[in-house]
Symmetry: C2
Subunit: 415 residues, 2 copies
């Protein structure tokens, strides 16, 4: 693919300049990009209007149309995102470790940019600015492949940022957008190992699955969250209902929302009727085992498939269990290694759960909705990693870097 090859070469050329940029130059460029986005609001809205119209005519759902739509406020939010990234500390150059060897070698383990990062994402055009900002601050060149539905919006945003970079004498190929929306191009992009150091898919389970299966570039798997809350026999039930409502209904379509609930059988009789009433009030459909169906009017039977489903909808699966061990086993079988919580006042149960559950984030007495770069204090987020390599959980700026060893000697040879 001649087209991709050119993009790759331009990114490769840009990356060496980018990794040498001083922090203040990067921050200045981020501020310039933010100002340009606001200044070019009309142009971006016009491009977005074309996408919106095409999508509406094509029968896109209201929920997706809302994700696609830009407004002056949403553009200002993109700009504010870039300003916030500028304000964060620059991780590049940090000496992570230092060791002096007996033979006189001095070894520094130093944080450096990845090089070139690829991001494949779906409908939200704000990811364009966001991904640029995070990659740029960490000294990486980024190649973006956005959803076809947001093609005009993404192009307008990318061009606006590139113009701002040019005005600041920064290599414009710090950010490139793949504008050929042929599926074969996307598949070829996933195999551009020669140019791309890291690939991050952002979107639904289908997209992530396709990238995991086709990419030869190292991938960070993000976002799928079949998150559980286990209500222990020793839970404080007054805390439990608000936490569950928050985790399930505060925002329905997000990866850290709760999708499945486990309840210790000893408290089922007193807890489930109250919880059922609260969830019903929020229009949540409940699917559970026999005990759940007996104690919650309107609850229907859960299938095996339900327990493995990330609904992203007003549906929750429910099950009663006999012990914290059974809860841990069930969770490790069905979860997506994202976020799971125990509600308990029993410290020993809490510790067993924390240790036993195989997830990026394991909670005691708090909503799973806190799995988020901002809530963790990272100041930014490129996604939530559900794999175990490199980075796990919320990924901030540091997670977009790697390290190298710098070894200073005075003529050492190996014996």
């Amino acid at each position: 693919m001649e087209y991709l090859e050119q993009l790759g070469q331009r990114a490769a050329e840009a990356k060496y300049a980018l990794q040498r940029l001083a922090t203040e130059d990067k921050n200045r460029a981020l501020a310039a990009a933010a100002a340009a986005l606001v200044r070019q609001t009309e142009r971006i809205l016009a491009a977005n209007g074309r996408d919106y119209q095409t999508a509406r005519e094509g029968g896109m759902s209201e929920a997706l149309l809302d994700r696609l739509k830009l407004t002056p406020e949403r553009i200002e939010a993109m700009a504010e995102g870039l300003r916030q990234i500028a304000a964060l500390p620059d991780p590049v150059g940090e000496v992570i470790e230092h060791f002096d060897r007996p033979n006189g070698l001095h070894i520094d383990k130093v944080r450096v940019p990845m090089g070139v990062i690829g991001i494949i994402y779906e409908a939200r055009p704000n990811v364009t600015a966001d991904a640029f900002g995070l990659c740029f601050k960490t000294g990486n060149a980024v190649i973006l492949k956005g959803g076809r539905d947001a093609a005009c919006s993404n192009e307008a945003i990318t061009e606006t940022i590139r113009e701002a970079l040019a005005s600041e004498k920064i290599p414009v190929d710090a950010v490139q957008l793949i504008t050929d929306n042929d599926r074969a191009v996307t598949t070829a992009f996933m195999k551009m190992k020669r140019y791309v150091d890291l690939l991050i898919p952002r979107g639904g389970a289908g997209l992530i699955q396709a990238v995991m299966e086709n990419s030869t570039i190292p991938v960070i798997e993000t976002g799928t969250g079949n998150c559980h809350i286990y209500v222990d026999e020793d839970a404080d039930l007054d805390k439990a209902v608000p936490i569950i409502l928050n985790a399930k209904t505060q925002r329905i379509g997000v990866c850290n929302a709760c999708e499945s609930l486990l309840v210790h059988e000893k408290i089922a009789e007193i807890f489930l009727p109250a919880l059922g009433a609260a969830l019903r009030e929020k229009q949540v459909q409940m699917r559970g085992d026999e005990t759940v169906q007996r104690l919650i009017p309107g609850a229907v039977a859960a299938t095996e498939e339900d327990y493995g489903t990330e609904y992203l909808d007003y549906i929750i699966s429910m099950k009663t269990v006999r012990s914290v061990e059974e809860a841990i086993e069930h969770i490790n079988r069905y979860n997506t290694k994202h976020s799971d919580a125990i509600l308990t006042e029993n410290g020993e149960h809490a510790e067993r759960f924390l240790q036993g559950v195989d997830s990026a984030c394991v909670y005691v007495n708090a909503s799973t909705r806190f799995t988020d770069g901002f809530e963790f204090g990272f100041g930014a987020e490129i996604g939530i990693s559900t794999q175990k390599l490199h980075a796990r959980g919320p990924m901030g700026l540091r997670e977009l870097t790697t390290y190298k060893y710098l070894i200073r000697g005075s003529g050492q040879i190996r014996a």
Copy 2:
């Protein structure tokens, strides 16, 4: 594949017990496995003899036969490897970071085992014991796929270790060996994402390439080393020859050996003849540009392909360059991101090289042969990562772990 499914399930069951093991129990089991290897020397040698005979009859080269062959000394070395791993600190459970959030959430970032690690390797049977030891110490279950040529040896070693684990009441499925040597089984193993958290190939470029292309499990790319030494115009030439001889010839077939040499044109006239004589004495064939050919009798022309080749042989490619920048550019174009060195007394040139070269390990005035877990002081090594995700350069025990976030709250919900 029913067979692999069973292996996967057994590993999944074992991993939860393994991650809860106390350090002293792990160390005791490692000592027991070491003792068992020594005690069962006869049995292992008999199995190895069968492999050796088959391989020799099949026409295996002397070099590969030597890798395959076990002796009482080599078995003792395997046992000693396990004892050394027992003596190393246990990384599991380390609190890497802690942060208290304004809303009262306490977040611990804690080092934990990966879970299940897959290792695919070639002829050396000692990798069997080695990989078990490293994975076990870090609380991981390991599934091994060794080379067909060492099938009997690997099986004897694995069985010996499993018997030792059983005698110590440790789940024997801490280590499992894939004994079906059909290629389709290996390919299916690379796609066992449901059970295997991390896959590490150890072997030649062909094996690593095949794993990178076929695996759906996150992979650590290891081992290919097209390592460069750049002799700067300000090099101390008395240091240069011994470093180059060490890096090229101290051990020919290893990934951190030097394969390509760059020399600043200003010192070519005085340096190349002396270097050429020293390399010729070591039987190293030199392939270079016109200047190299003019100054070194017997040097032949290097092709484009030579500059990209990891010879693992008594051959070196050579090129004159006009500046440290040209050296950096050449290296970043042809290297495998493993180890590259500059020889210079000019501090500014050294810093430009350290920053500019995109490799796991960048050296000033030392042999590339130091890229090694033991030489770095890690006490052990599973391989040298040449990719940028998760771990770069020598991988010790810590690199076989991941982390998770443990979040302790008191009823927090997200606003």
